[in-house]
Structure formats: structure tokens, C-alpha cells
């Protein structure tokens, strides 16, 4: 028997929904069988509210709030797909495509990329914003893995995965604004960072083709977004404790 935790009831897109009192709006939305796009969120990692795709409209609330970091509350009236939200989301996805170099036809993650999925979900067929074609670099210094910064969307899932789950904290974010990039160690080549255990968790967490296994060719990358949650749960349940 699970412990009876206090629950609350809210309304999402006109549909009543009962969840645990400490649930986030994202959990509530999913438990109601509904969907809202996400990129920076990964179950099992601390949410950061950075990609802004999961923004929802709360009645009587002046600002849009990210579902992944907002706690559900009794009586909330939530809308996940107003015309305004849909238009903002589409613009956001266009901005993601315009700020990096996302040439899907030549990407390891083609067909298994969350950025692609989100683009399909919001109905983006082209970008209204001119592509920036940033000149970034590819870090191939690691024996097993590579990082193509052109495809990085700065979701920081790799950063949190390595820090919170693997405990190595190899990754961080360096610089600011559009010059932001994921850095390894003290902005060293990844392969030179001794803290890296080569566990591959960051690669599993990456939603795009930015982090990849060297043996993967075009469209061969297998995504494993579920690993963070599996590991986090196994740890809280002490699944490997004294077995």
C-alpha cells in the first residue's frame, strides 16, 4: 500500500484532474493523459524551466508559467494550448532551429531527436527567422563519445545528468547569451577531463544529436531519456541495497 498523500483537484483544458498535493503541473497534465511539449525537462533531474516550451496559461494569473517547475494547486484552471501559447511555442521552436545548425539529414539523431519531435508537434514546417549559422566546434577528444556544439540547444540535461546522477560534474555552461556553450571541466577538451567516468549518461540524456557515441552513424543514435528517471528511482527505492 502506498501512503495516502493529500491530493488536490484542478482543471486542465476543462477536464477535472486529481493529483498528489506536491505534483507539478507537468505531472498533472501527463496524468490527465494530456501533453505539452518539453525539451529541458527530464524526469529524474532537477527541473530548470529554461526552454519555456511547457508554458501554460493559468486563469486569473497574469503570467504564463512553466508546467515543469510550477506546483499544482487546488482549484487551478489550466490551459495548455491556447492560440497564444501555440503561436509562442512555434516561434520558440523556430528560434531553436535558427540559432544552431540543425541539418537533420546529416545527424546521428535523425528520426530519434526530441527537437524534431517538438517541431512536428507544434506544426513547424519552416522558420520565419533567418538562420544564424553559428561557427561552433566539434569536440572529438573523448575516446568513446563526441559533442557537436552546432546541435546543442543548451537544455543542460547533460549537465544535470552528470552532476546529479553520475556525480562527476564534468559539464557546465560557459560564457553568456548567444555565446553560451556547454563546457567540459575547466573549458577543456572532454577527453582531457579526468573526472569523466565514460559512463555515457550524458549522451543518453541529450535530446538532440549534440552528444553522440562515436560508433553511431547518421540516424543511428538511440535515445535513452528514461535512464535518468530509472536511476533516480532505483536510488530512492534503494533497489541495489544489500541485494
Amino acid at each position: 500500500m502506498t501512503q495516502a498523500s493529500p491530493s488536490i483537484t484542478l482543471q486542465i483544458n476543462g477536464q477535472p484532474c486529481t493529483v498528489a498535493a506536491d505534483a507539478t503541473l507537468l505531472q498533472a497534465i501527463r496524468s490527465a493523459g494530456l501533453q505539452v511539449p518539453t525539451l529541458c525537462h527530464l524526469d529524474g533531474l532537477t527541473p530548470v524551466g529554461a526552454c519555456r516550451l511547457c508554458l501554460v496559461d493559468l486563469e486569473g494569473h497574469p503570467k504564463l508559467e512553466p508546467a515543469c517547475v510550477t506546483t499544482a494547486a487546488e482549484g487551478m484552471v489550466v490551459h495548455t494550448h491556447t492560440p497564444e501559447l501555440e503561436s509562442y511555442r512555434r516561434m520558440a521552436v523556430e528560434l531553436f532551429f535558427a540559432e544552431g545548425n540543425h541539418v537533420c539529414a546529416f545527424c546521428v539523431a535523425n528520426g530519434a531527436c526530441e527537437l524534431q519531435d517538438v517541431a512536428v508537434e507544434v506544426g513547424m514546417d519552416h522558420s520565419r527567422f533567418p538562420y544564424q549559422y553559428p561557427k561552433r566546434h566539434v569536440d572529438a577528444s573523448h575516446a568513446l563519445f563526441g559533442l557537436d556544439h552546432h546541435r546543442c540547444i543548451l537544455c543542460t540535461r547533460c549537465v544535470r545528468m552528470c552532476d546529479e546522477i553520475e556525480g562527476a560534474h564534468v559539464w557546465d555552461v560557459g560564457y553568456r547569451g548567444s555565446a553560451c556553450s556547454i563546457i567540459a571541466g575547466l573549458d577543456q577538451p572532454w577527453g582531457e577531463v579526468e573526472a569523466c567516468t565514460s559512463c555515457g549518461k550524458c549522451v543518453d540524456a541529450c535530446p538532440t544529436g549534440a552528444l553522440f557515441r562515436k560508433q553511431d552513424a547518421t540516424a543511428e543514435k538511440q535515445p535513452h531519456p528514461e535512464r535518468a528517471q530509472q536511476l533516480a528511482e532505483a536510488r530512492t527505492d534503494r533497489r541495489w541495497h544489500n541485494q
Binding site: V48, G49, A50, C51, R52, L55, K63, L64, P66, V69, T70, E84, S87, Y88, M91, A92, L95, F96, A98, E99, R128, F129, P130, Q132, I153, L154, D172, V173, Y175, R176, G177, S178, A179, C180
Partner: protein, 494 residues
């Protein structure tokens, strides 16, 4: 003419840059070191370096220029319309001398407060109606009340002295001119909310402010004035976003200065997860006067919703550049035309014309000349799509085109975005490029549509105030100067 009994020499950043050291030297040579004292900003920074001569009969003479060759008029409205509360001792006391500050009333309010119940102190603040001077204008008393109500015996008071807005130097003037006032305000706050630790977060670009604060903290501690309240200075590298409260707290903790979603608000969970009171320099600096003279006294100044006085940094195309403190509700016209002397005459002798006043820095907007009678308070400016912000006021004349002004501020946001959230990181870049097209007169009608849509998106979806307000200068210039954008489109046509 009877010789002055003593001289006050401005030794603040702007006057230092204009040659304050040389002026001081010559005054010391003429009158002796004991008759010349260093003080903080004397307000009319544009005429610096400034020196004031105090006469026995109370008369004050004012001089500008390295050789004190320009006699200025202390009876000019620039000075007479000021109402000094926050700056009451700035320009009078020697910021490096605790004795001088004590002689002029510093720490008196703190001594009285410590005899009062914390609740009474918070109530006095609430009575004053003071609102945060860092930009958002949140009621200070309510914020103190929130922190005071948090459980636990470990709480923190933080002073936001990051002041990153272009055109703003109000906080710097307080830090450089009367640092003890800030310490006193913070110590009162600590007593009121039950905090035992304090941090002042200053940007490294303010070396003189840092030096004065260091000296002031050491002197006040040596005297036991801050007993029970441990004060520390934290130097930030100087990123605009580090002024955002949650980013500032991350930075103090030694992390990357990036904002996080609120709630939780710092009042509940701030520095190291402790309940944290964070206020702006000017907000804390108003506190000693409020407690000395009463919340009702302070609340009697200003307008219905915006009480007290506000310090503004006047700059741009204006005759008298400098620092002013006026009652809330003073009209922009009084500030710009009467006090600031309007736009200087053109070289050909024709009178300069005010086109607009930019308030609130990169988060703010432009008030067109036709609306100069607007009273300056939180609501008045907001109704016009601008904001009070922290108090930068840049006067714009006919020589500047509005898309260019908008592009300048957008460029600032592009450079200062922390990069954490997509709309701000990538959206401001696209906005700047769109504005380029208007400035270079190669925009199309579709660009104007795109500009407005993207402004709406960045404003509504960014994580923190930087991105949420980055489109404001564009939206506000579009509101009042749309014709300039439309002309840029016409210019691109065949």
C-alpha cells in the same frame, strides 16, 4: 568678499574623472588642508569637478572646473527643487570618516530602533509606503513583513548594489558619498526581520564604492555599531543579469549568475536556502530617515501610490547633467526643462528641442515630449508603457532616430543575456537583426509584423525580468514613434 570658512570638494567618480584631485590640491594650497574636506557627489556632475565654499553666514558658493573658474548658481532650480532625503548627507559628510557621519546623525536611528520591537519597525516602514527602488517597486514594508514572518533563527539581509543599467549612477552616489547610511539601513532591516548576516553585492566596476564600503564596514565594526550583524562585501564581475535577485544570490553562493524561476521567492528560500531580504541601495538608504522622522512624514511626500522621494540620474541631451532627488510626482517637464535646463542650444544658436525622455534603462521606454507633464511615479510611467526602473533618465533630442535607440538597448540585452532561457538568448539576437533593418532603412512591412510578434513572444515567455522587459524600448518607441519605423519601410521601397 569674506573668505569661506571651509570648502567641500567632490571626490566621487565622475568628478575624479574630471580632475577633482587637481582642484583639491589647489584649494588645499590656498586655504590649508584643515579647511578642505572631501565629500560625495554635489549633484551637478556635468560641471565637475565641483567644490562648495561654505561661509560663516550660511551662504554657499559653488564652483566647477579644475581651476574653480566657473561659478555656479546654488539658487538654480536644479538645486532648489531637490528634496534630499536619501542624499541628505551626500555632499556634506566625508564618506571616509565615521566621526563626521556620526556628528551628522548617522546610526542614531539604528540606536533607537534597537530599543523597539522588530514588529514596530516593520510597521513604521509599512506606514511610510516606501516601495523598492531597484525597479519593480514592490512595497518594502510588505517584503520585510514576509521575511520577518519566516520561521527559523538564521536569516540574511542582502543589498543589491549591482546597478547595471546604462545611464544609472544613483546607487553609486550613495555608496561613494554616504556609505554608513547603507550600513545603518541594513542593520535596521536585520533587526526588523531577525537576520544576523548581511551581504552587499557590488560590481567590480565600482572600485571607489568598494573602497569606501570596506572602510565604512571596518570603522563601524570597530566601534561596535553593527553588533550582532556580520556584514560582508561580495564583488560581482559586473553582469547586468546579476542584478536580478535570484541570479545575484547564486552569484554570492559562488555559482553561475543565472536566474531561476520564482517561486520560491528569496523571502522564503534565498541565500543558502535561508529566508533572505533583498533590497536595493536606495531603498535601504531611505530607511534611517523614515525611522528618524516617522513613516507618516515620509508618506506625506509623493503621490497616492508612490510615496517619498526618488533619486534620478539625468543625462543625455540636457544642459545640466547630474544627480537629482525630487519628490515623487514631480513632472517630467519640471525635471527636464526647469531643473535640467532642457536641451542645450545647437551650435547655430537655435534652441534645442526635447524629443523624448527615456526612463528605466533597457527595461524601460520613452515618454514623448508631448507628454512631459506626466507626473513621475510608478503608475504614471507605467501607463505610458515606460517604467520608473532604478532611476536613469536620458533626454533625447531630435538628432536621434528611435529605431536606433531601440537597437542600442536591444544590443545591450543581447550582450547581457545570461543565455539560460531560449526566448531571451535567441530572441533578442533576432530582434536586434530586425532593428538593424530599420536603422539601415531596408526593412519591409513583414519585418514590422515580425518585430511586433517576436517582441510579444520574448516578453511573455522569458524566464526573468531581463528577457521579459528587453522588448520594452522597442514597444514603447513603436507606440509613440511608429512613423519612424514606417518611414524606414517606405525608404526601402522602389
Amino acid at each position: 568678499m569674506k573668505a569661506a570658512i571651509s570648502w567641500r570638494c567632490c571626490d566621487a567618480t565622475s568628478c575624479r574623472a574630471a580632475g577633482a584631485a587637481a582642484l583639491r590640491h589647489s584649494l588645499v594650497a590656498q586655504h590649508g588642508a584643515e579647511r578642505v574636506k572631501s565629500v560625495g557627489c554635489l549633484r551637478l556632475c556635468g560641471q565637475g569637478p565641483l567644490a562648495a565654499a561654505d561661509h560663516e553666514d550660511g551662504r554657499v558658493e559653488l564652483f566647477g572646473g579644475v581651476a574653480a573658474e566657473r561659478q555656479l548658481d546654488p539658487q538654480h532650480p536644479f538645486f532648489t527643487l531637490q528634496r534630499s532625503v536619501v542624499l541628505e548627507r551626500c555632499g556634506l559628510v566625508d564618506p571616509g570618516c565615521l566621526e563626521d557621519a556620526l556628528a551628522q546623525g548617522a546610526y542614531a536611528a539604528l540606536a533607537v530602533c534597537r530599543q523597539l520591537a522588530p514588529k514596530a519597525v516593520v510597521e513604521e516602514l509599512e506606514r511610510s509606503g516606501l516601495r523598492g527602488r531597484g525597479g519593480a517597486g514592490y512595497p518594502t514594508g510588505r517584503k520585510w513583513q514576509l521575511v520577518a514572518a519566516q520561521p527559523g533563527s538564521s536569516k540574511v539581509v542582502v543589498c543589491n548594489a549591482d546597478e547595471g543599467d546604462p545611464g544609472a549612477f544613483m546607487d553609486r552616489a550613495v555608496l561613494e558619498g554616504d556609505p554608513h547610511r547603507l550600513l545603518e539601513g541594513m542593520a535596521i532591516a536585520a533587526h526588523a526581520v531577525g537576520a544576523n548576516e548581511g551581504y552587499i553585492y557590488v560590481r567590480a566596476e565600482y572600485p571607489l564604492a568598494i573602497e569606501r564600503l570596506r572602510g565604512a564596514i571596518a570603522a563601524a565594526e570597530a566601534r561596535g555599531l553593527l553588533a550582532g550583524f556580520a556584514m560582508q562585501l561580495r564583488i560581482g564581475a559586473g553582469a547586468y543579469v546579476c542584478g536580478e535577485e535570484t541570479a545575484l544570490l547564486h552569484s554570492i553562493e559562488g555559482g553561475r549568475g543565472t536566474p531561476r524561476p520564482r517561486p520560491p521567492y528569496p523571502a522564503v528560500s534565498g541565500l543558502w536556502g535561508l529566508p533572505t531580504l533583498i533590497n536595493n541601495v536606495e531603498t535601504f538608504a531611505a530607511v534611517p530617515a523614515i525611522l528618524r522622522q516617522g513613516g507618516a512624514w515620509y508618506g506625506a511626500m509623493g503621490t497616492a501610490t508612490s510615496k517619498g522621494t526618488k533619486v534620478f540620474a539625468l543625462s543625455g541631451a540636457i544642459t545640466h547633467t547630474g544627480l537629482i532627488e525630487v519628490e515623487m510626482g514631480t513632472s517630467l517637464r519640471t525635471i527636464v526643462e526647469t531643473m535640467g535646463g532642457g536641451v542645450p542650444a545647437n551650435p547655430n544658436g537655435s534652441l534645442g528641442v526635447v524629443k523624448a525622455v527615456q526612463t528605466g534603462g533597457p527595461s524601460g521606454g520613452c515618454v514623448p515630449a508631448a507628454l512631459l507633464d506626466t507626473p513621475v511615479d510608478y503608475e504614471g510611467l507605467q501607463a505610458l508603457g515606460s517604467i520608473m526602473g532604478s532611476g536613469g533618465m536620458v533626454v533625447i533630442d531630435e538628432s536621434l532616430a528611435m529605431p536606433e535607440l531601440a537597437r542600442y538597448f536591444m544590443g545591450f540585452c543581447v550582450a547581457e543575456s545570461c543565455g539560460k532561457c531560449l526566448p531571451c538568448r535567441a530572441g533578442t539576437v533576432q530582434l536586434e537583426q530586425l532593428l538593424d533593418r530599420f536603422v539601415e532603412r531596408r526593412a519591409t512591412g513583414a519585418d514590422l509584423v515580425q518585430l511586433e510578434q517576436l517582441c510579444g513572444m520574448v516578453k511573455a515567455t522569458s524566464l526573468c525580468g531581463l528577457g521579459q522587459s528587453a522588448p520594452n524600448p522597442v514597444l514603447s518607441t513603436l507606440r509613440f514613434f511608429r512613423a519612424e519605423y514606417e518611414a524606414a519601410i517606405a525608404g526601402a521601397g522602389p
